[in-house]
Symmetry: C3
Subunit: 228 residues, 3 copies
């Protein structure tokens, strides 16, 4: 069994730990977090230190690698980049809930987190550090770029392409062969029947562009869909 650290100590850590427990393939040594008191405990595991101390933590605890458990796509990128600066060959593991269904010829990158009930259909290609929340369904021949995410209950048709950092939020339906550009976000409950370029927020049924987005802009915990 490999010894790993969880990077990030918030809500996402809690269910990532649940997945790792259920998989039973990785041994969690502790948590690396930017704010929590070092030596305290979160989700049953000790806070070992900060991400910028990853090299020292890795040596002290003899870890084999880790998983970034952070919901925001851009922040996962910043953290992964920081860690690779200190340990260029740091090994990022995947946490894929054992209830997930994986078709033939699906390719997974590294650092992928997939919660309970996700379905990945044949020939889809799943990028590094992507995140799939409860029950996300990815149809056949999709391509999900690095640091992209699909929230709970959202579904894509076949041949959907999501570029890096793009996000499909809660309860979204994306039709076949749609392309969603880099850093673009689809708001909750949307029906996506058109392609979207990079750096936009779009929502509605059918989804339309609402405004542009800047690189690194947060998208969780905000009302993305609203008529007020």
């Amino acid at each position: 069994m490999k010894d790993i650290v969880i990077i990030g100590g918030g809500d996402q850590a809690h269910y990532t730990i649940d997945i790792i427990h259920k998989e039973g393939k990785l041994n969690i040594i502790g948590i690396v977090d930017a704010q929590a008191e070092i030596g305290s405990k979160k989700h049953g595991y000790p806070i070992l230190g900060r991400q910028e101390s990853i090299k020292e933590i890795a040596e002290t605890h003899q870890i084999d690698g880790g998983i970034i458990a952070i919901g925001d796509n851009w922040t996962r990128y910043i953290v992964a980049t920081e860690i690779k600066k200190h340990i260029p060959n740091f090994k990022f593991f995947n946490a894929i809930h054992p209830s997930c269904i994986i078709g033939e010829n699906v390719k997974f990158g590294s650092g992928v987190v997939a919660m309970a009930g996700c379905i990945f259909n044949p020939k889809s290609v799943i990028g590094d550090h992507t995140f799939f929340a409860t029950g996300a369904q990815i149809e056949h021949d999709c391509r999900i770029g690095n640091y992209a995410s699909i929230s709970a209950g959202s579904i894509t048709g076949g041949y959907v392409e999501m570029e890096e950092f793009s996000a499909i939020t809660l309860g979204v339906t994306v039709m076949d062969r749609i392309k969603i550009g880099r850093n673009s976000v689809i708001g909750s409950g949307s029906l996506v029947i058109n392609h979207f370029p990079e750096n936009v927020l779009a929502y509605g049924s059918p989804a339309k562009i609402i405004r542009t987005r800047t690189e690194g802009e947060k998208f969780l915990g905000k009302k993305l869909t609203s008529n007020d």
Copy 2:
């Protein structure tokens, strides 16, 4: 194996019995129903009597408890109250389909019925006599009050709070941290991005208050969402 009765002999009894068969942990002695002819059979089991005769039925058949299989939230409350009047320590069992996925630190009350494919994420708290239809997804840290219900294919984000008797009907998406008040009902296909107070019917995308609701008012088998 515990011997139980099913209370209610309609459609909900049929799939509750299916769940109990698949779980293989409870032995059904018969059905308690308000109308069906005593001695006749429904769903393969004998009608043993009425709920007001529960004490006599319990003694005659030496049952260990039962499950209320009734879709309407308020009616489940009335029936549970009637039964507890006759047998104060009546044991209500849960019927949770073995395909359901349950995260760490989820707390279930008693009398819960969850159909195939439901997902309960970590740290959610599920009240007594709640009902979850096919494929309902409850995210992490949710709180579902007693006698509340979530219909098929509906999903909640994290930290959603449903008060007693509230109902989320078919195909609804509820965003993170939303609160739905006591006895309020969300109509089918809605996207919920705002909190709702008690005693309202709301629907739409995004859902808006349509009218108030009285205590005990039925909500199933009605067109809750309509533009006519």
Copy 3:
């Protein structure tokens, strides 16, 4: 183990083959396809010939039957009819992903394909050559006519009736007791709260009739829902 052919060599063949591999109950001899070069390979299996040569193919390869892996409902009918013209008692097998959940007293016809994560609730009746994409949920007591289909992530309430050749596309919610007529199609992301007659295209939330449909008209790969 029965020896079968896959009829149709496109995308649908790929995930049908995945299902058959996961079920481990049928042995695929090859593919019958209208266009691919005979003797070439698709999805790892040889193209054996055309559907009009099914009798010769069946004799040469000693097959026990087959499965039609074609997405378009009407085309499945044409192909099944052609095959039965040459081999009247041709045996059509089902391909039901082992992750599907099947309630008590569900009746399946022949030639049914159901992808990962579908749920069929008690007492539903599923017609011949029906197709259910990823995560389709069919509630209790539904009746799905021959050559009908339900796309990914769509859900029906109880007692829903779909006539022959009708199609529910991606991400649709259909309320209890709704009837959808022969050859009618519901566009993506729709909420269906009214009955629909035969030969119509309907969509929206709630879904409304957009136009009539002719018999045999294609419905996949088109924008069914659009405001442009």
